[in-house]
């Protein structure tokens, strides 16, 4: 599902005294079947953009089109939209209420009496890497990583084409985080989902994302594929946007030694590149 923002402006106190723009003149196109990241410092407008895509807020001026839905239009059907677009909030497990995982996941499909729904629950659990033994467990006894995956499964059961996630890795330890990242990649490649992630966790984002939108003070600083965006370290620094550690280190090495290590997708590739340069240096 494609997301298009056209000349979008939004303010929480629109046309009131001291009007403060939360988003200014946003023009961006987020293409289907990719993972998109939205980053920026505190108060840059990330969450506002997310609430607009969620359909809870309406733009003051401008248009938002997501798939076939015109979110700013008068005939916008929120119920239908909800089925195609899944939203995973920050700490989604805090909203658990079902006494079993099955009940929790099947909530928007009613109680799992028919086997059809039970199958769907199991399928949703499988998508997040949990087996069917979880169906009858209480969601409150799971660890944070498992809880997060159950929360995602409860969104996946209605088979949304677009997933919007607010800080999906927040509060997770390293192992749970890695598992979640693999899951998101699988949702993109195997299940053809479009995923939009709003996050501070750029190190995680850098490994899995295709495109990045950088916000500062309500405007887009730069948007595009991750390589072209993260090449501009000084622009990101100027706009208080976080830079992935691998990229930051690579820039530091370039500044101090003049050695350009090229594109490094993660920590291991950085280690390999340093090793290679180090061996060349000691061979000479």
């Amino acid at each position: 599902m494609e997301v298009i923002f056209k000349d979008v402006n939004f303010s929480y106190n629109y046309k009131l005294k001291n009007e403060k723009m939360a988003l200014k003149n946003i023009n961006v196109k987020l293409e289907s079947n990719l993972i998109h990241g939205i980053i920026g410092s505190i108060g840059s407008g990330k969450s506002t953009m997310l609430e607009l895509m969620n359909g809870i807020l309406k733009p003051n001026t401008g248009k938002i089109k997501i798939g076939k839905y015109n979110l700013s239009g008068k005939n916008f059907n929120f119920n239908k939209y909800r089925k195609d677009v899944g939203l995973v909030y920050q700490f989604p497990e805090k909203y658990f209420f079902g006494s079993t995982v099955g009940e929790e996941i099947s909530f928007n499909k009613k109680i799992p009496s028919s086997s059809n729904i039970k199958d769907k629950v199991i399928k949703a659990l499988k998508m997040v890497g949990l087996d069917q033994t979880y169906v009858n467990r209480s969601p409150f006894t799971l660890n944070s990583g498992e809880k997060r995956r159950v929360a995602i499964a409860s969104v996946l059961i209605s088979n949304p084409k677009l997933l919007i996630m607010d800080e999906p890795t927040i509060g997770l330890d390293n192992n749970s985080k890695k598992m979640l990242m693999k899951l998101l990649e699988k949702l993109k490649t195997k299940y053809s989902k479009t995923i939009i992630i709003v996050t501070h966790d750029v190190d995680m984002l850098y490994e899995i994302v295709d495109n990045i939108v950088v916000l500062n003070k309500g405007s887009i600083v730069i948007a595009g594929d991750k390589l072209s965006v993260f090449k501009n370290v000084s622009l990101l620094n100027q706009n208080c946007a976080p830079v992935p550690n691998v990229v930051r280190m690579e820039k530091l090495i370039y500044d101090k030694t003049g050695i350009d290590l090229g594109y490094l997708p993660n920590m291991n590739s950085l280690v390999r590149a340093i090793k290679k340069e180090w061996e060349v240096m000691h061979h000479e």
Binding site: S144, I170, H200, D203, C240, M249, K256
Partner: protein, 268 residues
């Protein structure tokens, strides 16, 4: 001298033991970081210290046993900041929120105003005083929650992943402010986290896993046990992980936290 002491703590949720005969003491004026993966028992421990969960053991804070009778007195001197500030705010503006606790204790408006001025400037939330706390972003909310705790001038500050939503540049500033509180105002800090970047600021690092202290000591000592850390799934600071990996290839000999020095070590 110990400011906080936990001895022979046993705690369970139904049949699941979280702590079995757990002991920990925290020295007055120190900054101790307790780190561990999800499910280590961090949040349970914070809840026990806050009196939100009942234990049948001996927890002593500021020489008082933690029980129903002493709880309110202890809470006056211990500031808590939790990970999710959404369940925390009670007032309509940040200003009221900051004034709330001191007003309840009968402080004079003049003193309260002075205190709010000082702390809101320190944490750079002075521009947010008239906003509704629920309209703020996650990081701003956490800063307000921290400011509320500092308003009471606590002798112990207990942070439960309290800086989780604050982005990295600002986090450093706040950690430095806290370091200043710790060193100059002698506030004892006990912080719970699974992000070891924050641990660099503390004097002592305790690694908790499944209710048991796995490693306990100074920062370098703990990081030398890298295999243990990796096994229990803790997020090690980037530079430490990089130097650990480079050390395997004998490119460097020691662990280095400072990125510039790390580069100099490689290209020396």
């Amino acid at each position: 001298m110990d400011i906080l002491n936990i001895s022979n703590l046993t705690f369970r949720y139904k049949n699941k033991f979280i702590f079995d005969n757990f002991n920990l003491s925290v020295e007055r004026g120190s900054w101790t970081t307790i780190a561990g993966p999800n499910g280590a028992g961090k949040t349970t421990l914070v809840k026990l210290l806050a009196g939100l969960e009942k234990s049948y053991s001996n927890i002593t804070i500021l020489d008082k046993t933690l029980n129903k009778k002493n709880l309110l007195n202890i809470r006056k001197e211990v500031g808590f900041v939790f990970d999710n500030p959404d369940n925390f705010f009670a007032c309509e503006t940040v200003l009221d929120e900051l004034a709330f606790s001191l007003e309840n204790l009968g402080e004079s408006p003049k003193t309260i105003k002075k205190k709010i001025d000082e702390i809101s400037k320190l944490l750079k939330i002075d521009g947010l005083l008239n906003e509704n706390p629920y309209d703020l972003s996650g990081g701003e909310k956490q800063k307000v929650a921290l400011a509320c705790a500092l308003m009471l001038e606590p002798r112990i500050l207990i942070l439960d992943d309290a800086l989780l939503m604050i982005d990295i540049n600002e986090k450093k500033q706040i950690l430095n402010i806290l370091k200043d509180y710790n060193k100059n105002k002698k506030v004892t800090i006990l912080s719970f986290t699974h992000n070891l970047d924050e641990a660099i600021y503390s004097d002592r690092l305790v690694i908790l896993n499944r209710g048991i202290i796995t490693i306990d000591g100074s920062f370098p000592k703990v990081f030398s046990e890298e295999m243990v850390m990796r096994k229990i799934g803790l997020e090690v600071p980037f530079e430490i992980e990089l130097s650990q990996k480079l050390r395997v290839y004998n490119i460097i000999d020691e662990l280095e936290l400072d990125p510039e020095r790390l580069v100099s070590l490689i290209w020396k």
